[in-house]
């Protein structure tokens, strides 16, 4: 490894490279994997982290915003987390290393570490075009591979937990949902202490399968969270992705969905709760590659303090994807004067018989609503809580699962109690 940087590296970039030099020998992987890791870190070294000049990072100048990288510390204690839905099976990763997996009929678990260490292990997938991928490729140490067999219907949600006690955490969750299978998977991202987290969930959804995937990101408020959710939908597959961002200092959640089978259906509901100095960026690229498919994305943001957020939503409809019906909306409720939220919808349509649309709004709490509630004796804070909840409730209720709706609304209430 002897490439010279063409640029002046920032403190965080230097720290990343130093961490790689220190750790690379201990990271799992065969010769091919080692080479892929090397080239990932070389790419960061050569170009640096992206600035706002890179279009995909226009609203999140990672080079400027990532000011420090905490030291790797695998020994730091990690608190357990109760599953979101009591009693549901949990596969956990702690400080980047696989901790425990449950027994679930029809589901097999494998550690990502083992996959990388085996003679014939899969190489780290090529993700040379993206920074979250590069960082993850360079450092990924663990995670759970999950395979849900054909036709299996999970009785309870399966929870994948990425927990940390601070430091650096780089994990991967490769998941396969078999044909006609039906599952709800909850991805929990939380921990204690300052951390740099990269987490990639890579999901293959088989024909006619139905998957609900729920990401609950509640990182500590000094943590950088770089998340990526990638999914491919086969024929007649249905994916409902629900994202709740309610923590972190610097958060980038990427969503890369390809509807490759005809008749596929993708639904995304995303709630971003931004407070303090938080910066949260949700960037989605949705590829409609097959005909007769549909998609709806609804993003709702509540912004207070000096927080800033962005949603970039790109929908690409290939020429073959006739009869696609794609809709996207991004609505923001600003609770403070200093906060802000940017939205960039992008439609690239190469098919002629499609329906695509997008819309964005930014509002404040309606003073008439507030007065009405207060005129009945409801205190201002409680009245605002009711109105914020009202703004978000229909998006949560779209999940159509009472137990899930209840816990997510409780999380919303907890966030509002602290930040509202």
């Amino acid at each position: 490894m002897n490439v010279h940087s063409k640029i002046q590296l920032t403190e965080a970039e230097t720290e990343l490279i130093r961490a790689f030099v220190e750790r690379s020998a201990r990271l799992p992987g065969n010769a091919q994997t080692v080479m892929t890791r090397d080239s990932a870190i070389e790419a960061i070294k050569a170009a640096g982290l992206p600035t706002r000049k890179v279009e995909a990072w226009h609203y999140t100048d990672l080079r400027r915003l990532l000011s420090a990288v905490p030291a790797y510390d695998p020994e730091v204690p990690v608190d357990d987390a109760e599953p979101l839905i009591a009693g549901s099976p949990v596969a956990a990763v702690a400080n980047g290393m696989t901790a425990r997996a449950p027994n679930v009929d029809g589901v097999s678990f494998s550690t990502f570490f083992a996959r990388l260490s085996e003679e014939d292990s899969i190489a780290v997938p090529e993700r040379g075009d993206d920074t979250v991928g590069l960082i993850n490729i360079a450092f990924v140490s663990g995670g759970w591979g999950v395979e849900i067999a054909d036709g299996v219907e999970l009785a309870a949600p399966l929870e994948l937990q990425n927990l940390h006690g601070g430091g650096q955490v780089h994990v991967r969750f490769p998941v396969t949902v078999g044909n006609q299978a039906k599952a709800t998977i909850i991805e929990r991202q939380t921990g204690q202490g300052e951390a740099l987290v990269s987490s990639i969930s890579d999901v293959e959804i088989g024909e006619g399968a139905e998957l609900t995937w729920i990401i609950v990101q509640e990182q500590p408020d000094d943590t950088t969270h770089l998340g990526q959710f990638a999914a491919r939908l086969a024929k007649d597959a249905k994916l409902t992705l629900f994202i709740m961002n309610a923590g972190g200092k610097l958060v980038r959640q990427e969503v890369r969905v390809a509807v490759v089978g005809e008749g596929g259906d993708f639904q995304m509901r995303c709630i971003n709760l931004l407070a303090g100095d938080n910066h949260t960026d949700v960037t989605m690229v949705l590829d409609h590659a097959a005909p007769d498919a549909g998609s709806v994305e609804i993003v709702r943001n509540v912004v207070t303090g000096r927080a800033e957020g962005a949603f970039q939503g790109q929908i690409r409809v290939a020429q073959a994807a006739q009869k696609t019906d794609a809709r996207m909306a991004c609505n923001t409720l600003l609770l403070s004067d200093e906060g802000g939220f940017s939205t960039k919808p992008e439609l690239e349509i190469f098919a002629d018989d499609v329906a695509c649309g997008h819309g964005a709004t930014v509002t404040e709490i309606d003073s008439d609503h507030l007065f009405y509630l207060m005129s009945r004796g409801i205190g201002e804070h409680e009245a605002r809580r009711l109105l914020v909840k009202a703004f978000l409730a229909e998006v949560i209720e779209d999940l159509d699962d009472e137990a899930l709706v209840e816990v997510l609304e409780a999380k919303l209430d907890a966030w509002f109690a602290e930040h509202g």
Binding site: Y372, L373, M374, S375, R376, I378, G379, L387
Partner: protein, 249 residues
């Protein structure tokens, strides 16, 4: 007792109320009538605590407590209730959640704990009877998609649940057909009691056929220009405001 003394109110620098004096004793029903633009709704909004209205002079007390010093929610907890002329639709806030939040806020103010869910449901169902509304209302968003009549009945229903010591009804009769007017009026009459004061603001005399007031005041250009008994309302119905306005001018 609600006592208003020399109340002057401005909106965006323009004086709307120019010295109102009014005393409404416990159990009394006073009606305030007047042509459009006389300041009737301003009076209602000011009493409820709307911040867009600036009180430049005067005082408003409820049983000796200074209401003008209180925010809208505090006034409500002290027992003030205004039935809105135009109740707003609040999508996403269920009527039940809203009522419970309000009811519990009042209870907390009285030093009582949160109401038991079952007990509250029974109470609410009983009060729905007052205005002949169905319990399906409770799961709907506050006022959303309600007809004009439903909105007004909903206001009176809330009053029945919250049991205020002073109720200000701002043109509760506007937009109601004969049947809805009868239902709303019956609801209001059921809520009359020796402890509760009511201020009934209306443009027309027809509401007062159902809710017979103790006293009628005529408001014109921000001043009360005449006070009398129920017969004053009948007089106005026959002769219009013109004659009184002429006297006042």
């Amino acid at each position: 007792m609600l006592e208003i003394k020399n109340l002057h109110v401005s909106v965006e620098g323009k004086e709307i109320l120019k010295g109102i004096d009014l005393k409404v004793g416990n159990g009394e029903v006073h009606s305030i009538m007047g042509p459009n633009g006389s300041g009737k709704s301003t009076l209602a909004q000011v009493l409820a605590g709307h911040e867009a209205y600036e009180v430049t002079e005067g005082s408003v007390t409820l049983d000796g407590k200074d209401l003008l010093d209180m925010a809208a929610d505090e006034r409500a907890r002290e027992g003030v209730f205004m039935a809105f002329q135009y109740p707003v639709e609040i999508p996403g806030v269920s009527t039940m959640e809203f009522l419970k939040a309000a009811y519990n806020a009042l209870r907390e103010h009285r030093g009582e704990g949160e109401v038991d869910a079952m007990e509250f449901l029974n109470l609410v169902k009983e009060k729905l009877e007052f205005v002949k509304m169905d319990k399906s209302l409770l799961s709907r968003s506050v006022n959303q998609g309600f007809s004009g009549g439903e909105k007004k009945r909903h206001e009176i229903f809330q009053m029945a649940v919250l049991e205020p010591s002073v109720a200000i009804l701002d043109e509760t009769d506007s937009g109601l057909d004969i049947d809805a007017l009868r239902i709303v009026s019956e609801g209001i009459n059921l809520l009359r009691n020796p402890e509760r004061s009511m201020v009934v603001i209306t443009h027309y005399q027809r509401l007062l056929e159902h809710i017979v007031p103790d006293t009628v005041h005529v408001l014109y250009k921000g001043r009360i220009i005449k006070t009398g008994g129920p017969e004053l309302a009948l007089h106005l119905e026959e002769r219009g405001y013109g004659e009184l306005i002429g006297e006042a001018a």
